[in-house]
Symmetry: C2
Subunit: 446 residues, 2 copies
């Protein structure tokens, strides 16, 4: 698969082999990948040991206007023409089909594949890995999780000598931008979302982001890597940010916390002594002195906790054409270097086969904000509900409410089983002392 | 060099080859490496494709008390016995000699070497790389720069597809601990240092840390990796933290900044149009909203700025037995995997050969604190000195001084040439209007 230079070979590196690349999709990321392959050709050749040449660019509409650095003769609408016979295939189409068919076609033909497709990996990772292993090709996907942030690399290689206990991350820039705007300006969720849409940080249909589905796909990939266990999208317990109110955000600031949408993957032992993996995505209250609290705007950051390494954090731009293209190029250099020098990317290493734990068995902390009747004994009634469910209270803050005869009680619990915390919230909602459970937020990162 | 299992081979993985490891030095890090190799043997075998077996541990005093997981029969005081015939050699002795001789002996015999020795790499990196390339062995050194933080990996591999413009890091935990203690408690430098020594965060002779030499060695390694150019310790312009006063720290807080000892490596074009590399280590004022500002205690963090990736940050524990051992083990897994599956670590890729720029040509900002005579016209006299040297003032803050007839002026400049900023400070010291230039600190990260 390694060709010697053809007559158009670069004069600067006549002795380097040439690798033939197909780029599937020439959108925001694809066009940046093509630009950088041209601009940094010399550096990339020095690092990979090969000249990287774009043989085909698969597009839907070949007559659409393109940047000048895209060679029109490389454009094709035919997948077979684009894929067959290439050394390296970069998949940037997104979605499940036809991306899955194309990636499998490339891998089965022995081409190494670099993809930024989180949905495809979360849904069909094992099938893709098997195809790569069978033909001896590489499968790389740094760009699928957090844009430029090299967390896939970190988990697959840098932490290969450690035992990871927990991954905790901000992996969706759209929701982080919205929550950040709410915290900075006091805006409502709806106004902050509209602003994010106006500025291009949120899609017209924002549901994949704000409902937490994008974060859940990334969480599944991170958990699979961290715990050497197959974790799919369906294993992730997901809550989005649409229920977060301006009042929640203000209340968080009062308690020196900030609300972040977190993707959390943990290795834990449940109450019956079984070790397993718990994966969840939800908004949470993070203390201001936690390294994730200061991750603002569209940035991503992932904290990885290892038994030996302690707490590591990887931080950077989680989206955007050039940052995501940077991740694609680092994978391209690695895959190209393997073609030239031997070796291969880490194979999917699913050897732990840990069970996925029931989300109800997760241990976390809740902060509950209650509107109660301002009368004698109400705190005693409320706190007895916690005690009845075995949930220990860590702090209580009571103040006058806005409505007549109403008080507001904010209660933070100690760590308890998620199922017990939910039962407390349900019992409070039915208590005659409580007018309304105004908010229930988990507390993470203490 | 890959052996088949001997009769004592693990029953759990009878088909895996065995790799024979020598650990040179059984101190804080070495003993953790040995512990983890035992405790995580199964995981490490699954990830590397080999059973990792410790054949020799080189020590000075074989009769010293050891942890139970060190096999006494592996102990030796003879370097040849320890090194010769091994597949992988882990060097954790530190210092230049005899570490250099041992590492060269191992590499020339074809063993792959994992080292945590920053001084050796900063001084003799090219010689070691050449020896590794000649015999086809790997040379890995993640543990040499920032403990568990995978920044060497990040620069060598994750950012291999990008063009790095700047590396900015907190790479010395001792000085960060001292500066952090000064900021938190208002302590003097001397008291904070004594406290750090009492708690084991600073050596009895703290000069390598507080004078910035440890950070300079790491800065040289980071710059070499980032810019594909040979950068040695002597190329780094170094200032330590001994001159930082409690007043400086308080003043920084007033301006919503914090003082950090930074290692900075930049690719720049100087005034005569030459592209080159500038490397320096010095205390600097960092804005509170910069990601490095919240890196506290003995943690390390390195910001890497790439043209495509934008700003990335790597954060974690920069020292300590277990965190540093985690970095050593990740290198061990990579080197072991190459022995089994082929491939090799990235060779030193010095192809850019950029010149090292004169430190005086560096562009930065200064904050100067002046004690002046509180009389008419003094601000005009002071500001004319800046104008005369072509340095533009960004902000001025004046207040009453503590001594009678004295005022304090704090001036922040716009970006200017280091040489011009130094000339301003010298001229101010000789101005009749100025009683004393109380402090000169650079401002970074804006």
């Amino acid at each position: 698969m390694v060709h010697t230079p053809d007559s158009s070979g670069s004069a600067a590196s006549p002795s380097l082999p040439v690798l033939d690349i197909a780029v599937l999709g020439a959108g925001t990321v694809g066009s940046q990948v093509i630009r950088l392959l041209g601009e940094q050709a010399g550096d990339l050749a020095a690092r990979s040991g090969a000249r990287l040449s774009i043989g085909a660019v698969l597009v839907r509409d070949p007559s659409a206007p393109r940047a000048a650095d895209i060679d029109p003769s490389a454009l094709t609408t035919d997948a077979a023409t684009a894929i067959d016979g290439r050394d390296l295939v970069v998949e940037l189409i997104g979605g499940i089909e036809p991306a899955r068919t194309y990636v499998l076609r490339a891998l089965r033909a022995g081409a190494s594949v670099i993809t930024g497709n989180k949905a495809l990996l979360a849904a069909h990772g094992p099938e893709l890995y098997a195809a790569a292993a069978e033909s001896g090709a590489d499968l790389y996907y740094e760009a699928a999780v957090a844009g430029a942030v090299p967390v896939v690399y970190g988990l697959r290689e840098s932490l290969a000598g450690d035992r990871i206990t927990r991954v905790l991350g901000i992996v969706n820039g759209t929701t982080n931008f919205i929550l950040d705007a709410m915290a900075t300006s006091g805006a409502s969720y709806g106004d902050a979302l509209a602003d994010a849409q106006a500025r291009g940080f949120a899609e017209a249909d924002p549901s994949a982001d704000v409902d937490g589905l994008d974060a859940a796909a990334k969480c599944a990939i991170l958990a699979s890597l961290a715990f050497h266990t197959r974790v799919g999208m369906d294993d992730v317990a997901v809550e989005g940010i649409a229920g977060v109110t301006a009042e929640d955000v203000a209340e968080a600031a009062f308690f020196r916390r900030v609300i972040k949408l977190l993707a959390i993957a943990e290795r834990r032992t449940d109450e019956s002594g079984h070790e397993g993996v718990a994966v969840r995505v939800h908004p949470a209250l993070v203390p201001l002195d936690h390294p994730l609290a200061s991750v603002s705007g569209a940035f991503n950051a992932i904290v990885v906790e290892g038994e030996a390494a302690g707490r590591l954090m990887f931080y950077g731009q989680g989206a955007g054409g050039a940052p995501t293209a940077s991740a694609v190029l680092s994978d391209l250099v690695a895959a190209a270097s393997h073609r030239v020098h031997g070796g291969h990317a880490p194979r999917e290493s699913v050897y732990a086969h840990l069970p996925i734990l029931d989300p109800g068995s997760t241990r976390t902390r809740y902060q509950l904000r209650l509107r109660v009747n301002d009368r004698l004994g109400v705190l005693s009634e409320v706190s007895s509900i916690f005690a009845r469910h075995g949930v220990s209270i860590q702090s209580v803050h009571q103040r006058d409410g806005q409505a007549p005869g109403e008080a507001v009680i904010v209660i933070a619990t100690h760590e308890a089983r998620e199922a017990d915390l939910r039962a407390v919230a349900a019992a409070l909602a039915h208590s005659p002392a409580v007018r309304r459970v105004a908010s229930t937020l988990r507390m993470e990162g203490d």
